[in-house]
Symmetry: C2
Subunit: 128 residues, 2 copies
Amino acid sequence: MPRALDPGRRAPCGAASLPATDAGCEEVATRFRALSEPTRLKILRRLARGEASVSEVVADVGGTQANVSKHLAVLLSSDIVRRKRQGGRTLYAIADPALLSICSIVGEGIERAARVRAAEILGMAPRP
Amino acid sequence: MPRALDPGRRAPCGAASLPATDAGCEEVATRFRALSEPTRLKILRRLARGEASVSEVVADVGGTQANVSKHLAVLLSSDIVRRKRQGGRTLYAIADPALLSICSIVGEGIERAARVRAAEILGMAPRP
DNA sequence: GACATCTATCAATATGTAGTTATATAGTAA
DNA sequence: TTACTATATAACTACATATTGATAGATGTC
């Protein structure tokens, strides 16, 4: 049984938290791993503008068709994108709009960390 | 110059979105990669309960001290945790509370996908 | 039918990284 | 000083995966 039925169970309190179980940690880690490749983020950036076929993604992202197709398969198996056949083509689209919020939060965190680091370099708070 | 000053630039519209530049994609991917290991999520789950020394994290997460220390170094280099020396120990703490929201969103997405998959298995909509 | 296009997958290589063991470094206590 | 504890790092193995090229399968067109 490769997938648990209660993969993302979290702490009972209403606040945001990390997965409470080890199995939940593994499921969440798997999804983060799907988002941990620059090429896949570029693919998602293209799909954020609307559903697209594989060749359209290739034209936008670059690289070989085989590589893009495999990355799309990874995103599909993680339920990050969905696909449907349209004639001879396969149209991919983002399945979970919450992904965009996630990437925004991460981007903001990077900006904040960069500001902190810049302030340290400028002498406001020397590194311990 | 290993780090850009504007790593997470996003689209001008107020809505959440993916990084606009390729460099931004790589920075965001690096941070997602730091979150893509179950052991590191377990470490963060421990740190979410409060700052802790390396040996305390080892006692909670398991594994060898060397491995936990290396994972903490990965989280530190991604600005996900911060550390300070206290006598002979090193105390680690979560640097960016937004991480908890991110993990919650991912966990909810997994739950939603599991519900959809369960509904498909129960015959409501056979897989294409 | 033959042919072209689009997509998925296979095989092979190269790179990255998690884990272990052993060791080095730093701080504390005697 | 020596001894002990806590943490970081180096060397190594093993495994996962990103990438490419070749190819197979499916669909549409002639």
